[in-house]
């Protein structure tokens, strides 16, 4: 069985006026609900570890109750960085395997979770090809310092899955080395583990701007009409 570590602690200053971004409504429904309902429909997920921005626990708990989420949920306060947040969630994970997702990706489906859970390799991330060119630069001097082959780069998506022991060891490695990562697939790879990727879907994008909120609402609303 798997635990889902659902990252929900970010305070997205770019999107929400006065409230943490996980409470914004996408197509009229709090963005957090989409990931909870999708995960609730996955048999292999028997625990959800859900974090909340400091001071917002009651609001997050109310959403869980209102939407009658059946999977047992363990609540934990978010850290100051995403890296720290995952570190705080790990001791609460009760299963040998963990899926990581974030509530800012509301277009995830139960099928997305099931597909990565079924994958033969234990440590896997959804990733996307990069359809544009990325340049390495020196921001200080505004100098372009070389070129990158986008064929060997990927846009890191969620969900990801790891053996819990892999993720714990990788976070111990980061603490020893004094390094902080913005996501866990590259952390585990740098820590020496064999992490694989499978092709994700560009629909499952991360909602970070107001335009993203509108786009996600458009896609979710149209799906409702397509039912």
């Amino acid at each position: 069985m798997f635990s889902l570590a659902l990252l929900n602690g970010g305070v997205g200053a770019r999107v929400a006026a006065g409230r943490p971004k996980q409470f914004i409504a996408v197509n009229g429904i709090p963005i957090l609900v989409y990931s909870l309902v999708a995960a609730d429909g996955v048999e292999a997920i028997s625990q959800i570890v859900l974090n909340y921005p400091p001071g917002w626990r009651e609001d997050v708990e109310k959403i869980v109750i209102d939407y009658a989420i059946r999977t047992p949920i363990t609540f934990v306060e978010a850290g100051s960085t995403r890296h720290e947040s995952v570190g705080r969630m790990l001791p609460l994970v009760r299963n040998d395997n963990v899926v990581i997702h974030e509530s800012a990706r509301p277009l995830v489906t139960a099928a997305d979770f099931e597909r990565i859970i079924r994958h033969e390799h234990p440590d896997v991330s959804y990733m996307l090809e990069i359809p544009f060119t990325v340049a390495p630069v020196d921001p200080g001097s505004r100098k372009v310092v070389g070129s990158l082959d986008r064929g060997t780069l990927r846009n890191v998506q969620l969900p990801q899955k790891f053996r819990t022991s892999t993720l714990v060891a990788a976070h111990e490695y980061a603490a020893r080395e004094g390094v902080v990562f913005t996501e866990d697939a590259t952390l585990c790879a740098v820590a020496g583990f064999d992490v694989r990727f499978i092709d994700g879907d560009d629909r499952n994008f991360k909602v970070t701007t107001r335009v993203d909120v509108q786009l996600a609402g458009y896609l979710l609303g149209n799906e409702a009409y397509d039912e």
């Binding site: 429904i29 609900v33 939407y67 009658a68 059946r70 979710l220 799906e223 409702a224 039912e227």
Partner: protein, 235 residues
């Protein structure tokens, strides 16, 4: 897997006709949750169902006045404990006391909204809160909710609100894969119609069984191809 159906206003009219339609068909709907106010008509309807039950279906009666919100909340809790789930919900119960604006008793307006609008909302919300995932919700509105008619202010307003509420439910409950259907019957030979149009000969207009046939079609696999908007059903 066998399905349950919950029908409000199940003692007569379109509600009872819908129950009969599913009850006397060899299908996977086996558990019938029948909700109506306590009445002799309800007793007669239940006896008739028990006496002619060719497919051995289970029917359970709940005598509830849907204007009583606390009773509706109790009903949802009881239903989840006793039946485990509601796959198909038919919000059919309706109330009207047609009056001209100057004559409307506010208590009647409140009862109309309580039965026709708040009750379907409360049933859906409380069953969701109790962890139910509906497959299909059918809200019975009315053509009176599309076009207001003189003397029908309270009824028309309640059904217009039900049509709008159905559109919102359809969008929000899509995350569970729930289908929400709204149908608006025109003139149909029911007790409520007799209240609205006492001089009309009921034999000359659409019968409850006809509307029940449409609901059965909407509940079938092909229903999803015609359910995108409020559906007018009339002769």
């Amino acid at each position: 897997m066998s399905k349950s159906i919950m029908v409000t206003g199940a003692s007569k009219g379109i509600g009872l006709a819908t129950v009969r339609e599913f009850y006397r068909t060899d299908n996977d709907v086996t558990d019938f949750i029948l909700v109506a106010r306590d009445s002799e008509e309800f007793d007669v309807a239940l006896k008739e169902l028990a006496a002619n039950n060719p497919f051995g279906k289970r029917a359970t009666a709940y005598r509830v006045d849907l204007a009583d919100r606390d009773a509706v909340l109790d009903l949802s809790r009881h239903v989840m404990v006793a039946h485990g789930k509601v796959d198909i919900l038919v919000n059919n119960a309706g109330y009207t006391a047609p009056m001209a604006i100057q004559q409307i008793a506010f208590a009647d307006f409140e009862r109309t909204i309580a039965v026709n609008l708040y009750a379907p909302f409360t049933i859906v919300q409380s069953l969701l809160h109790n962890g139910n995932a509906f497959q299909l919700i059918v809200n019975i509105a009315s053509t009176a909710g599309i076009t207001g008619r003189s003397g029908w202010l309270t009824y028309s307003a309640s059904k217009a609100a039900l049509i709008s509420m159905s559109e919102v439910m359809k969008e929000e409950l899509a995350i569970y894969g729930t289908r929400v259907v709204c149908i608006s019957p025109g003139r149909c030979a029911t007790d409520l119609r007799r209240t609205l149009a006492p001089d009309e000969d009921p034999a000359t207009i659409m019968q409850p069984g006809h509307v029940a046939g449409v609901i059965a079609m909407l509940a079938s696999d092909i229903g999803r191809f015609v359910d995108s908007q409020n559906i007018v059903v009339r002769m």
